[in-house]
């Protein structure tokens, strides 16, 4: 049951104001995004059309806390096929950005490990200019699966190391100041 009194009519504008979310209001609910979606194919509970519809109706809290927000595989099939050029993959990104901010402010709780991985990854790029695979993967394993997870990953890590595919230390670029300024500008 949808209670109209609990809807947030401004939510669609909030999304449209995020980079990538601009075209959300163009959606006319044709389901083209969902019929071809590879994730819907294996989980009928994942329904991009529903996420967009709920967002347009203003079901803010329900959309932001829905775990399925983190199941978009960014394969861009819906983006390619959408007759209204909603740019659904990027709309998902816009909604994720709002969810991340709300979570950082302590207003909602996000349970999907993907946002932790993305944050660790982005932090390592902010610091080094390149992503630090061994550090990010190790920290992610430790925080999601504990020391057992790190040990479990060790054989794969060793194999990669032996093939010269994994570096123990991070690679740092010279232009780190430019990276820092890019972060400052886009976070404004």
């Amino acid at each position: 049951m949808i209670k109209t009194s609990e809807l947030d009519p401004n939510f669609k504008y909030e999304i449209a104001n995020e980079p990538g979310g601009e075209n959300i209001k163009r959606c006319f609910n044709c389901t083209g995004c969902t019929v071809g979606c590879p994730v819907t194919d294996i989980d009928k509970g994942y329904n991009p059309r529903k996420i967009i519809r709920k967002a347009l109706l203003g079901m803010r809290n329900e959309v932001l806390t829905d775990d399925s927000l983190w199941l978009c595989a960014s394969c861009y099939l819906c983006y390619e096929r959408c007759p209204q050029d909603v740019k659904i993959t990027e709309v998902m990104g816009a909604i994720r950005a709002i969810a991340q901010r709300e979570a950082k402010a302590g207003k909602i709780k996000l349970n999907n490990p993907k946002q932790l991985f993305d944050n660790l990854f982005i932090d390592s790029v902010k610091k080094n200019g390149k992503w630090y695979e061994a550090g990010v993967s190790g920290m992610f394993m430790l925080r999601t699966k504990g020391i057992g997870g790190v040990i479990g990953y060790a054989p794969m890590g060793m194999e990669l190391f032996k093939k010269g595919k994994l570096s123990i230390l991070p690679h740092r670029i010279k232009g780190k100041d430019q990276i820092k300024r890019i972060f400052e500008e886009v976070e404004k």
Binding site: P19, G20, P38, V39, I42, D43, W70, L71, C72, A73, S74, C75, Y76, L77, Y79, E80, E90, M92, G93, A94, R96, A97, N112, P113, K114, F117, D118, F121, I122, V125, G129, K130, W131, E133, F140, E159, L160, K163, G164, K165, L166, S167, H171, I173, K174, G175, Q178, I179, R181, I182, F183, E184, E185, V186, E187, K188
Partner: protein, 314 residues
């Protein structure tokens, strides 16, 4: 042909064989690559949903490429998408351009960014490449796997059909290998689900393996390090999760054409793939010999059969 080269993080790590084979094949094809100096991460799939950050990080690389005065070639489909998307935004979105030019202290005029497959099939040309193929890859039965970002969205990647691309198919055929029909060619490998829901990622990857095997393939050819990471790097994990044996070598298209060019396995770093392509490579050109052997064996078996029946009758 001279091109600026952006390898991206994976080609200096888990996809080092793609970097090595890209360099080897480019050299053989007459392309001089100049790696852009002090490049940074494009934000990969981890920032792809954070559009401005992804484009900002990518724009710095485009700015560096601009200094070389050359077109830029990118072997990774994700990097290629991110850099192209940033280039487009820098040309059309004034507010974004102002932010990035301020952060970098330089102005941007635009760079032509191309995926390596696009350069090989369109700029060098499949026919011109075929003239350099000295070793027919008879016995290789490949399915071409394009994945997502190589051909989608067509708004950013325009070099092939987004629903039914054929450039990689044609390149495989030109090597003398067999290219089998593959309806999964542009389906998702599940790469970006690896951290959010690993079991879903592996279901998607398994689908690719299943169809490749049904088609009769003895390898999958890819043009993206993320696809390769799932299909090759995670293949043993998929086998474990689905309690099955896959054992399918996954070749970068550069490794495949490198073999046809007669380049050594060492140059193409074929020993760095997680699923060893050793048996596959040894089988090249041996298919006909095998056929003859099988015929002889069948004849012997046929002769032996009646005798066995007689024994039973006795």
């Amino acid at each position: 042909m001279k091109l600026a080269y952006y390898p991206g993080c994976t080609l200096h790590g888990t996809a080092r064989e793609y970097d090595a084979s890209t360099k080897a094949v480019s050299k053989a094809a007459g392309i001089e690559l100049t790696e852009i100096e002090d490049w940074n991460c494009c934000g990969a799939l981890e920032a792809i949903f954070d559009k401005e950050l992804s484009m900002g990080l990518s724009a710095r690389n485009n700015m560096l490429a601009q200094k070389t005065g050359l077109d830029l070639v990118v072997p990774c489909s994700i990097c290629s998408h991110n850099l192209s998307r940033a280039d487009k935004a820098m040309k059309t979105d004034e507010a974004f351009r102002a932010k990035i030019e301020k952060a970098l202290g330089e102005s941007y005029n635009g760079v032509k960014i191309k995926h390596l497959l696009d350069v090989m099939v369109n700029d060098v040309g499949t026919e011109a490449l075929a003239k350099k193929f000295v070793k027919p890859l008879k016995g290789i039965k490949a399915v071409p796997y394009y994945g997502c970002l190589l051909v989608r969205p067509s708004e950013v990647s325009r070099f092939d059909n987004p629903e039914n691309p054929t450039s990689l198919d044609n390149l495989i055929k030109a090597t003398g290998a067999e290219c089998l029909p593959f309806t999964q060619k542009t389906k998702c490998c599940g790469g970006n689900l690896l951290m959010s829901k690993q079991d879903y990622a592996f279901i998607l990857t398994k689908k690719l393996f299943d169809e490749a095997k049904t088609a009769g393939a003895n390898c999958i050819v890819v043009a993206c390090p993320m696809c390769h990471m799932l299909l090759d790097g995670q293949q043993s994990m998929v086998e474990k999760a689905h309690n099955t044996v896959i054992g399918l070598p996954i070749l970068y298209f550069t490794q495949l054409i490198g073999l046809a060019m007669g380049l050594s396995e060492k140059e193409l770093e074929l020993d760095k793939n997680m699923v060893s392509p050793k048996t596959l490579i040894e089988s090249i050109g041996k298919q006909e010999e095998k056929k003859i052997e099988t015929k002889i064996e069948t004849k012997i078996e046929n002769k032996a059969e009646p005798k066995a029946e007689e024994e039973v009758a006795e």
